[in-house]
Symmetry: none
Subunit: 211 residues, 4 copies
DNA sequence: GATGAATGAGCATTCATTCAT
DNA sequence: AATGAATGAATGCTCATTCAT
């Protein structure tokens, strides 16, 4: 799927477009209803095509969803590298990563992901896709870990907390989940929220002077 | 369901026991397989009763699961009050809440919850149940918020971060999700993890002296 | 299925009856339309039950059909033994076998069998059923072969034709197939037909005096 | 299809060739997999053309298969006439017919035929094709019947068996079916088998002197 | 004409729910 | 009250056929 050949015939272009439309629509429905409440029929209907057509693009529902995940993951992970490789202090780069996570693709998909990861064999499928997302994920983790260690080395970050736990904090705080809306549906703009989360991240809740 | 009448006939007691058994078993299966992969048949078989019997206790699968949530939530929320009302500094009470969350029921259910909350109309059901869990939740939030505000007032907590966001951080950090295992499957004991999370929570990642 | 327990509760009896009804009806439809043109829906409708009900008796279409085959085969093969063990000359026993084959279950099923044996994995299923039909079939063949050899030994049958080929002739002549109707739709009664086939079998087409 | 016009343009010739290729290939697949397990896709792929192209030659799957049958039948029936019209005794001509049947096209197709004849409306289609195969078949039967009657008249064949039944025996014995392999998978060469079948046909199983 | 993507009716199968016993 | 057989709506998937290019 999606072979990014530079020169496509008209038909191939249309086919690609339709495939993207299917992926987009499926993603929407999936986000709305979750894996099990999403039927191939509904996806087809929303796209405005016949059910069979989906099967000319994807061999099964699982594969379709796995493709969506893989695509999103990949996009998301690619965005990271630019940030990680910038010539900035560890602290600033980490802040940028936080911003990226905050607005991030990862957050939006988390709900879908968790609803799907239970029970179905998507894990296997997603992992088999695109040179294993898992590997990329591990790679990302190790890069960010290195960043944190760098920060520790130059005295920017505290050394009495495991790098892993720091990572965990970041991913937890900047990948908001569905039910968090209850908590966060108040008067803060997303940007203010981001700022405050960064403060908490770097300085904690205790009253002591930042900077 | 579960009318807590003090004096029950033998039959009524047996009925209660069975209902509890169903709830327990269903909870187990639900945790193992998620909402959609759990069938009424399997629950009944595991309990050792007929499928129909479940329907004499609960009118539908949704209602059964909603009951489980409501029960868990209630237990969980009750545990809070003791902690919140203790005669301790805001800071210490907050730490206790973190510990409670960390080991907590809430975390264990989160997976199930997220797998279920998508698509089915459980939200409505859960909310309609037991004088509205939602209200209790709001109540809890407001109590913890008050605690945080207290802490701010006595100078224990920083004032430049919204109380809501602090709450959010706590709930995010101390209610681990399934996929976090990837991150946390390393050499820390749960207690060490808890300690480190508290440090991060109170003092942040930046190198500066705690205490 | 069909455990022939002598004492059954009413429900169990009804269940058995229904199962038989399903088997019978399925057999009819199968004979009319063949494996692929037979839908579970039609079977259910003809029986007057819901489609799902069939699945409470048989786990799949294949299994249902395999059960039908196994049952028929077994009935048919059991009938053989009585004939083979009678205290009669080989020749007479062989004639009885011919009569049995002529009226036989085998013939009626042959059409269904051949329509089904192509492509589906029924072979495996049927063979796995009831202690392997195949073995029983082999056993039958060896018994009839022995009978033929006996006949050869006592000078009743010619010795210049392989026993296998004789068997083949019998099975071919006395297990009429569907398209034979074209040939045999004329003025002979089934009994006359049987008589004439026996004559051909024993004395051939050439003009020479029988007896 | 296959309009046997003597003078064809190049394109028409190519078209004919392709049609033959389709027929051949379809026949192969059909023999391998049976009617229902054969998909138009597979035929097209094996031929190396697009699925749609088949539909420019044949209006439907049924029609395609019917054409194959009709063609085979026709070839087969034509072979008969030469044998029937030879200047030989009825007995010898009959033997030749047996040999022809034995090696025959008819036998090879029987499996396919029976797998197909069930359920689909191919009967009608085949019969409607090519000036009705049925008629040719009837014609053949009547010719062979005449041959048998001739044989009866000159004292070669017995007169106490209906001509139809004799015909039936021949067709049954010399048109082997798939499942007969079980029986015949032994040490006889096809030729020996043919010889022995002829003996049985003419002289029967009973011990009495041939010739 | 050839192509092959699109179509959609059709099918086997599942499972929450009902209800006669 | 408990049972579990029966129900039937819903779903993923297939494949002969069509038709725009």
């Amino acid at each position: 799927m999606q072979t990014p050949t530079p020169h496509l015939t008209l038909k191939e272009k249309q086919r690609q477009e339709r495939e993207n439309l299917i992926l987009q629509t499926a993603e929407e429905v999936l986000e709305e209803k979750g894996y099990y409440e999403t039927s191939m029929d509904e996806i087809a209907t929303r796209v405005g095509i016949a059910k069979g057509t989906i099967y000319t693009h994807f061999p099964s529902k699982e594969e379709l969803v796995a493709t969506i995940f893989a695509r999103d993951m990949q996009k998301f992970l690619q965005g990271f590298d630019a940030i990680l490789e910038a010539e900035l202090t560890p602290r600033v780069r980490l802040e940028n990563i936080m911003s990226y996570l905050h607005e991030g693709l990862y957050g939006r998909r988390a709900k879908l992901l968790s609803s799907t990861y239970t029970g179905v064999d998507l894990k296997r499928l997603v992992n088999e896709k695109n040179g294993s997302i898992r590997e990329m994920w591990e790679c990302l983790i190790s890069k960010v870990s290195k960043l944190l260690d760098e920060g520790k080395a130059v005295g920017e970050f505290r050394t009495d907390v495991s790098t892993r736990v720091m990572l965990f904090m970041m991913l937890s705080l900047f990948s908001p989940r569905a039910h968090d809306h209850v908590l966060l549906e108040h008067d803060l703009t997303p940007d203010e929220l981001l700022q405050q989360l960064k403060i908490l991240c770097f300085y904690g809740m205790t009253q002591n002077q930042p900077e």
